[in-house]
């Protein structure tokens, strides 16, 4: 039971069992009122037909009216109670998912496809929450009431009670089971189609322009329709079973009435059952089945929620496996005051993504505030992977990485992030204001600091044109921002960070050469400011690197050469060739220091 993903996910909702018990009690009383109403009015009519003194009926008439009122009121209270439980649970589960992804393995977040991710956090959490309202609580209420009405009829006529119990099992166990089987086959057949459908819909809307121009749009739309057809076909197959289930549930109600008549009528003739009681025995079942009406839906919900729970639990489990070197760190997490100078030393470092070939090996690197190191090399040589390792986001495959003398892996994540802040090439721009996007780096960034950082990143004209200044909303995925603006916004964000060491991946991308070089020069100037920073830049543009303290040239798998710009020009052929290639392709900028005339404003 503890291993069942549904129960694990339901446990994550953090439901208070006292509240759940209250909801069940209210439900039993509400639907119990309906059964009591049917039983008492059947008795009332049958007794009245014997024309007794009216006074003998007064208790029954009051009871009938009371049950008529209590049912609606109690049901209202029950529904509020159960829905509150579920919604609170869903909020709790959503937060827990976020929290565990926030500390878990980076790949489990990075590799999820957007459409699928949306389906996971949204629909799956809703589904796990729904199981409380639509599955577990109604099932508990129905079970209590089924037993109670069988006992009631049993006191009058055991045979009719047995028939009723049989029909209750048919409607309350067999029909829901069949309905769940039908729904499960629908889900199992349809889940792949549904995931395809969601990611196709996302892809088509996201990449509509590219697909339109390349002529692939109709083909992708056809693929969407095909996925949807598979989804509809699985619904259709499941519907056959649920049609049978529905018919059986309906048949059970009629069969209970028919059975009661067949068994109890001879009992009246033989005198073992009073005629008045016959009316109760025959008419009560009609109401008793009402509590069971929701059970097929409940069973479907439980089976559907179990599938969602499996995905939710799998997502949590995949994120839960910490990177080996962090989880198995032999030294306990060092006590830390949070303040670090930012002296980062890598020795014989090998980096790579877990489960893949290492991309950089045997790397030695030292950086501290006031110093700048550039990592250069062709695309795909592992510059980004190296930066992510230096930022503590990926565990080193081999070698040591010390921050102020302490292994990076044994320091709290918050301390590492506060000391070495990474800006990746594909960093996310959030669907919020410019200011909030900069505050991602440091929550206390003021409007003035934000404006200063944007200006340093060359965005002052852009900022001036924004209708609400730094409070302008950027929209989803920042698609209204141009590529170059996005790049500079990310650099501005890095500038807002208080970390003594900044790790910046490709700061000059999407910028014209002059602006790119100016931006790198501005970044390098941070070394000499009042609060000197250490810098590690990954770049493939070399012209602006003349003043960098050390340049590390990466080539397939390792360090090809290292030194200052001038030293490398003299000693490293590949470096010299690259610099020459850059300047010959830049006829307008024969020397990196000359501002080229192509700089447009």
């Amino acid at each position: 039971m503890r291993q069942d993903p549904l129960w694990r996910a339901v446990a994550l909702l953090g439901v208070s069992w006292r509240r759940a018990a209250l909801a069940v009690l209210l439900g039993v009383l509400a639907l119990g009122s309906a059964i009591a109403l049917a039983a008492v009015s059947a008795w009332l009519i049958a007794r009245a037909s014997q024309m007794p003194p009216v006074l003998t009926l007064s208790v029954a008439t009051v009871a009938v009216r009371t049950f008529g009122i209590s049912r609606g009121v109690l049901r209202y209270l029950e529904r509020l109670a159960s829905h509150t439980i579920a919604l609170r649970g869903m909020a709790t589960l959503r937060t827990r998912i976020y929290e565990s992804l926030a500390v878990g393995r980076l790949e489990s977040v990075a590799s999820l496809r957007r459409g699928d991710l949306l389906a996971r956090v949204g629909a799956d959490v809703d589904s796990v929450g729904d199981v409380v309202v639509r599955g577990l609580l109604p099932a508990a209420v129905a079970a209590v009431l089924a037993v109670a009405s069988t006992l009631l009829v049993g006191t009058l006529h055991p045979g009719a009670a047995a028939a009723l119990a049989l029909c209750l099992v048919l409607a309350g166990v067999v029909a829901p089971w069949l309905a769940a089987v039908g729904a499960r086959s629908t889900e199992a057949d349809g889940s792949a189609a549904r995931a395809d459908m969601a990611s196709l819909a996302q892809e088509i809307v996201d990449d509509a322009a590219v697909l339109t121009v390349s002529g692939h749009l109709d083909e992708r739309l056809a693929a969407l329709r095909a996925a949807d057809r598979r989804l509809a076909a699985s619904t259709d197959r499941g519907a056959r079973t649920s049609g049978v289930a529905s018919a059986l549930g309906n048949l059970a109600v009629g069969a209970a009435v028919l059975g009661a008549l067949l068994l109890a009528v001879p009992a009246v003739a033989s005198g073992t059952l009073a005629p008045v009681e016959l009316a109760v025995v025959v008419l009560t079942p009609l109401a008793a089945f009402e509590a069971l009406q929701v059970l097929p839906a409940a069973a479907i919900q439980i089976s559907r929620s179990r599938q969602a729970a499996i995905r939710v639990v799998a997502l949590l489990d995949s994120a839960d496996t910490h990177p080996a070197s962090l989880a198995d760190a032999p030294t306990p997490v060092a006590v830390d005051d949070g303040e670090h100078e930012g002296h980062l030393v890598a020795s014989a470092l090998t980096c790579g993504w877990p489960g893949r070939e290492p991309v950089v090996s045997d790397l030695h690197l030292t950086v501290h505030p006031g110093q700048a190191v550039a990592v250069v090399g062709p695309s795909g040589t592992g510059k980004t992977t190296l930066l992510m390792t230096l930022a503590g986001l990926l565990p080193p495959v081999d070698g040591t990485l010390l921050l102020d003398g302490t292994p990076l892996g044994s320091l709290p994540r918050a301390t590492v992030a506060a000391t070495a802040a990474l800006t990746t090439e594909d960093a996310h721009v959030f669907d919020t204001s410019v200011l909030e996007n900069l505050r991602v780096a440091r929550g206390t960034t003021t409007e003035d600091e934000a404006a200063a950082a944007l200006s340093l990143a060359g965005l002052d004209a852009w900022l001036a044109a924004l209708p609400d200044g730094v409070h302008t909303q950027l929209g989803p995925d920042a698609r209204t921002v141009s590529g170059g603006e996005r790049r500079r916004l990310l650099v501005a964000r890095a500038l807002c960070s208080a970390a003594p060491v900044l790790l910046v991946d490709e700061p000059g991308e999407h910028l014209d050469p002059a602006t790119a070089d100016a931006l790198v020069t501005d970044l390098l100037a941070l070394r000499d400011s009042t609060e000197p920073r250490g810098l590690v830049l990954a770049t493939h543009r070399l012209s602006a690197l003349r003043t960098v303290d050390e340049i590390i040239v990466l080539d397939a798998g390792g360090v090809l050469a290292r030194g200052t710009h001038d030293a490398l020009l003299a000693t490293c052929t590949a470096y010299r060739v690259s610099v020459e290639a850059e300047s010959t392709q830049d006829p307008a900028a024969p020397s990196p220091t000359t501002v080229p005339c192509s700089r447009t404003t």
Binding site: L37, I45, A48, M51, R65, G68, V73, R75, Y76, T84, M90, A91, T95, A102, L106, L112, L118, Q202, E203, I204, V205, A209, V213, G215, L217, L221, L224, R225, R229, A239, G243, S246, A247, G249, N250, L261, V268, P275, V276, L283, S379, G380, A391, L393, A417, A421, P467, G475, R479, S482, G483, H510, L511, D512, V577, S578, Q585, D586, A589, S598
Partner: protein
């Protein structure tokens, strides 16, 4: 809110047949409900009043058996086909919705509606299932079972019929009242749901970034707050929605109780017989049953109706009318942009502004200008994806708006800044050039020639270096957005595909972004190779190296629209 929006029948063809089915099963159910009540009463009354034996009531019991079986069959058939119809309606609407969203263009979806449409298509529309499977049949039962049973009660005991008839109008009145109160909250709830979806997704998508700054713990509060806002807003809706349920149950149960008490008291005085009294007792709840079920499924189906209405609203946005003329052959025809200006939404800027230039066949044209000047937007205009606020594009003298889009785009290959590769293998990304690319890699005829050509081109673009790092080479599977390949690697795949293709006009948006100087040489060689093959190239360029290979350089400028500025004349300068 209309219980049955006529637009549903208009937009979703499968809904029409379903309405017919529901009407048929509804009518049959009405007859069977009445028959069952009369037969139960007929079997029960003689036994209670005069102790009749089983043989005495055998007739009604036999008929009762038949009715019970028939009712179950009708019920099963209704259920079985309701799911099928719902799945088809949802499928139909989803396909139309996504297709329309894709055709409405990049500006429409960039304004946030794209994300909304995805949420609506993948989740919102599914709420139509409860509406179609549960709510709509009950709606039909309310117009068949309710009047039929009421008429029968009238024939049996007019006083009971009067009590029921007096309460029934209260049911819809209360439903309309409560429905109106619920509608605005339900629409708000859908908005909250979409916002929550988009924002939670945004936070999760940005988690790697948040973690890079060690800020991943702060937004947990935000996620919790979003969840609490969702709970509050939903409970607000539900308190009202359930109120409608309570009023309904109160009205219906209480009047059934009043009917039972009334009949009971009149039985004592001999004003009514036992058999009609029992029949009325069984029928009274059945009169209200469909109305009650409408109440039960009301709020679940309301989400479906609201989602459907949002879908209809999108479907009613007409995409700009497409031209019909065949596009002139770009091997000979010139493309001219004349005073093109596009307003950047919400930024008070026109970017580009007054862009005028000519793109001649077989030449390399570079669009240059500072970041945010509107170079990429100019490309969208050129591709016909965006209609400019002022100015226009003409091809060989024909306005682009008169040209059939398909015939225009089949002559164009476009590499956007963030290259999106179709899911599949690298081979399919290169070879699957869609309906109008060359069938270069289908392996059928001249398969080895194609492989040879691919090798040559891959060497030129540097894709061969990428392929060497992949164990599966050309057959490596790449996901949505090219997961597993870096941005630069994706770009090389797309560049190779463009070189292998036969489109006359190749549009490259910053092709050397993400590339180092050495691979930049490969891109420049590729661009030259394109020109050598006689193809026209439009480049969005930042780097001087790219500008240098261009035959024509066009400077793109933006201008502020918030303050009145001098008319933008000759804003674009063409150097040759």
């Amino acid at each position: 809110m209309k219980p049955l929006d006529p637009r549903l029948l208009r937009f979703a063809r499968p809904a029409r047949g379903y309405i017919l089915l529901v009407t048929a099963t509804g009518t049959a159910t009405a007859a069977l409900v009445v028959a069952q009540a009369l037969l139960v009463a007929a079997a029960l009354a003689p036994v209670v009043s005069s102790g009749a034996s089983l043989e005495d009531v055998a007739g009604p019991l036999r008929w009762l058996l038949l009715v019970v079986v028939l009712r179950a069959v009708v019920h099963g058939v209704q259920e079985r086909y309701a799911h099928r119809a719902a799945a088809r309606v949802i499928m139909d609407l989803r396909a139309q919705l996504v297709a329309r969203a894709a055709r409405l263009g990049p500006r429409w979806s960039a304004s946030g509606r794209g994300t909304d449409v995805v949420t609506l298509a993948t989740r919102g529309l599914d709420d139509l299932a409860p509406y179609l499977v549960r709510y709509l049949p009950q709606l039909l039962l309310a117009v068949t079972v309710t009047p039929a049973t009421l008429l029968v009660v009238l024939g049996l005991d007019w006083i009971s019929a009067a009590i029921i008839a007096a309460t029934i109008p209260l049911v819809p009145i209360f439903m309309i009242l409560v429905g109106q109160m619920t509608q605005s909250t339900s629409q708000r709830r859908l908005a909250v749901m979409e916002r929550l979806g988009a924002q939670s997704l945004d936070l999760l998508a940005g988690l790697p970034t948040l973690r890079a700054f060690g800020r991943e713990h702060g937004p947990a509060t935000r996620v919790r707050d979003l969840g609490e806002a969702y709970t509050r807003s939903t409970m607000g809706t539900l308190r009202v929605a359930f109120l409608s349920g309570m009023v309904l149950e109160l009205l219906t149960t209480l009047s059934v109780a009043l009917v039972a008490v009334g009949v009971g008291l009149r039985l004592v005085h001999g004003d009514v017989g036992l058999e009609p009294a029992l029949a009325v007792l069984v029928l009274a709840p059945e009169v209200y049953q469909p109305l009650r079920q409408i109440g039960v499924h009301f709020h679940a189906s309301l989400d479906g109706i609201t989602a459907a209405q949002k879908a209809f609203d999108v479907l009613e946005v007409e995409p700009p009318a497409a031209g019909t003329l065949p596009a002139p052959d770009l091997r000979h025809a010139e493309i001219r942009l004349e005073g093109v200006g596009v307003d950047a939404p919400g930024r008070g800027v026109r970017a580009p502004a007054g862009l005028t230039c000519t793109i001649r066949p077989g030449r390399i044209v570079a669009l240059v200008g500072p970041s945010g000047a509107g170079k990429t937007t100019a490309v969208l205009v050129l591709l016909g994806l965006l209609t400019p606020e002022v100015g226009g594009v003409s091809v060989g003298g024909l306005p682009l708006t008169d040209i059939a889009p398909a015939s225009w785009r089949e002559q164009i290959a476009w590499l956007p800044q963030r290259t999106a590769l179709p899911p599949g293998t690298i081979r399919s990304a290169l070879g699957g050039r869609g309906p109008h690319g060359g069938a270069l890699l289908d392996g059928s005829r001249a398969g080895t020639d194609a492989e040879e050509r691919l090798r040559t081109v891959a060497r030129l673009t540097g894709l061969d270096d990428v392929l060497r790092t992949l164990p599966a080479g050309l057959d490596s599977v790449i996901g949505h957005g090219g997961v597993g390949l870096s941005v630069g690697q994706r770009q090389r795949v797309a560049l190779t595909a463009a070189l292998l293709g036969t489109e006359q006009l190749v549009v490259l948006d910053e092709p050397t972004a993400h590339l180092d100087a050495l691979s930049e040489t490969q891109v420049l060689d590729s661009v030259r190779a394109l020109r050598d093959a006689g193809r026209t190239v439009v480049l969005v360029a930042h780097r001087a190296s790219l500008v240098a290979v261009a035959d024509d350089v066009v400077t793109v400028r933006s201008e502020a629209t918030v303050e009145p500025s001098s008319p933008a004349r000759d804003r674009a300068v063409v150097h040759s």
